[in-house]
Subunit: 380 residues, 2 copies
Amino acid sequence: MLKKQLFSPGPTPVPERVLLAMAGPVIHHRDPAYEELFEEVREGLKYVFQTKNEVLLFASSGTGAMEGAVCNTLSLGDEALVVRGGKFGERWGEICEVYGVDFTAIDVPWGEAVDPVLIERALDANPSIRAVFVQAIETSTGVMHPIKEIADIVNGRDDTILVVDAISALGVSDLPMDKWGLDVVVSGSQKAFMLPPGLSFVALSDKAWDFAERSTLPKYYFNFKKELASAQKNQSQFTPAISLVVGLHESLKMLKEEGLENVFKRHQKLALATREAVKALGLELLAQNAPSNALTAIKVPAGIDGKKLKSDFEERFGLIVAGGQSQLKGKIIRIAHLGYFQQMDIIQAVSSLELLLRDMGYPVELGRGIRAAEEVLGSA
Amino acid sequence: MLKKQLFSPGPTPVPERVLLAMAGPVIHHRDPAYEELFEEVREGLKYVFQTKNEVLLFASSGTGAMEGAVCNTLSLGDEALVVRGGKFGERWGEICEVYGVDFTAIDVPWGEAVDPVLIERALDANPSIRAVFVQAIETSTGVMHPIKEIADIVNGRDDTILVVDAISALGVSDLPMDKWGLDVVVSGSQKAFMLPPGLSFVALSDKAWDFAERSTLPKYYFNFKKELASAQKNQSQFTPAISLVVGLHESLKMLKEEGLENVFKRHQKLALATREAVKALGLELLAQNAPSNALTAIKVPAGIDGKKLKSDFEERFGLIVAGGQSQLKGKIIRIAHLGYFQQMDIIQAVSSLELLLRDMGYPVELGRGIRAAEEVLGSA
C-alpha cells in the first residue's frame, strides 16, 4: 500500500474540498449561479495578485498566458530583455523569437539569481528595450529572482515594462503587484492556487494596458483587450473551464480564510525547515543565495544515482518529487512545499530523504535532518 | 426544489462516473499511471475522430484549436474561403483577419446549410485559395453543413485543405475523417465528449501536415508540429489539464462501450423525436432543411417572449436550454440532445415546452408534442 502524494512543483496537491466542489454537476457559464461565483473569483484573484486591476483567466496552461504577455504588449521588431536562468527563462526567449521580438538575454548560471545591476546596465545601454521578461521563481532551479529590485529599475522608465512569470511564486511569497509596480504578472492554477492544471491568470498595470493599446502582434484566443472587455461584463470571451473555475472559487476561499500574510509565513517556515534539514544532512542546495519558498532543489551527491533517488521516493514512500530538467537532469532533486502543504509534509520528505540516501550508500546520521527541520517548525 | 439539468449545446451534462474519476487526487503527468492513461486517451481520440493520425490535445476551449488550425497551416497573405452561416462561421473569419489571411466569405442565411456548389465555384474562380473553413454543425443555428460533399470538392485540389470545426459534431453524426478526406478536424471537450469545458482536440491529415511544414504564421502554445512531436513520445508539450484528461479517459471508455455507431443512432433518434414533437406543436424549426442531431433550434412563435421562455424553462422545470446569439437573440430556443442524453430527457424537454407555451398564451394541445416524440422513440 502506498498513499501517493505530490511533492512536485506543479501539479501540487488539491485539497479535498476543492476536489469535491469540482465534482458537482457542471453549471452553465451564463447561469446566475455561475455569474455570482465568477464575480467572487475575480475579486479573489485581485486579492491574491494584490492589484486593483482586473485579473484575466484563460483555459490554458500557464504558458498560454506567457505567450499572451508577449503578443499583447509588443509589436514586430520590438526589443526586449530576457533573464534566462533556467528552463522557464528560456521559454520567454522562445516566445519572443516566434513573434519576431528581438531580445537580448542575460544568461544567469542555473541556480543563481540575476543581479539587478545587469538589468540596469542593459537598459541604460539600450533605451529601445520595451520589455523585461523574468521569472519571480524559476521553477527549474528553485531560485527566487529579486523582483522588487528589478521593478525599481524598470519603474523609472516610461517606455519599458516589467513582465513577471509568477506561476510558481504567487501565493508563496509577497509579490504586491500594484505596490511594487509590476506591469504584467502571469500565474497558473496548479501551484499555490491548489488546483489541477488548466487555468492561467494574468493582470496588467495601467502602463501595460497602454502597451496593449499599441501592440500589433496577432492574437485571438489570448487577446487580453477583448478578454478584459468580457471580464468587465463578468463574462469570459470563450467558454470557460467551468469546473476549474468552480474549484478556484473554493481554493480562493481557503486562501482568504488563512489570509495572504499567513500563507506567506507558512511557505517560509516550510521552506526554511526543508533547507535546514538538507544542510544538516551535508547536502548542497542548488539555489544557495536566493532559494525560493516554493521548492527546494537539492544537488544529488557524487556517486548517487539521481534518477533512482527520484523514483525510490515514489516507490518506497509514495512521495512524487521532481528531478532536474534539461542541463540539470539527474543532477538535482526538487522537493516542493508549494500550495496545500503543512508541517508534517516536510517531515515526510526529509525522513524519506534520510532513509533513501543512507540505503544508497551516502553517509547519513538518521534523524539529523529531521532534528534541524523540527527546530525550525517548532520555533515561533 | 429544482434538479438543474443542462439542455444547452455546451456545456452538456457530465456523467457521474466521469465526475467521480475527475474527483480523485491529481496524478503527475510524468507518472507511469498517467502515461498509461494518456496512451489510452490518444487511442480513444483516434477512434472517435476515425483517423489513423495523431489527435492533439490542448488545455483550452475549442476556439484555441480553431486558432491553431489557421496559424499552423497558413502563412501571411494566404487566401482562404470561409463559410459563414452563424456565429462560429464568423469566428473563422475573425481568426483569419487577425493573422492576415485574406478570406472570401460565403455568407449563408442563419439557419441554412451551405450549398456545396458555391464552394466549388469559389474554388474554381480563385485557385489560390489554400483552405476552406467550415463548421460541421453550426451550434448557433443547429444546422449541419454537407461536409462529405464539400470534402469531395476539396479533395480533388492538391493546394487546398478543408478545415472542419467539428466541436459540436464529433460523436454526434458520422464524420469519418480519413475516409472522407477531411484535412483538419477540431473538437472540444464540453459536447459529445461529455466533459466540462477546458480541452480542445485537433487532428490533421497528411496533406494538412504538409501545409504545417510550410506555414510561417507565429504560434507557440498552439504549435501543432511541436505538440505532435510530444504526443509521439506520449507526452504533452506543456502541463496538461490533468483532471480533464482523466475524465476524458472515462468518457472515451463510455463511448467505446456503447460503440460509435450506436452513439450516432442514439443522437439521431433523440433529435428526430425532438423535431417531430416541435412540428406537431405547430412550431417552426430554424434549420428546416439541414437540422443537426446535436441540437434543435426552434423559432419562438410571434407574440411569445423568447427571453422569458428560456428563463422559464429553468425556473419552472430546472431545464437549462439556450437562447439565440447575435442576430437570433430572443428569436430562437435551442434544445440540446448532445452527449449524455437519453430518451426521457427529450420527454422532459418537450413536456416543459408544451406547458410553458400554453401558459404564455400559445395554443397548445397538451400531450400532442409528446405523442409525436413517443412515436419516434418507440420505433425500432
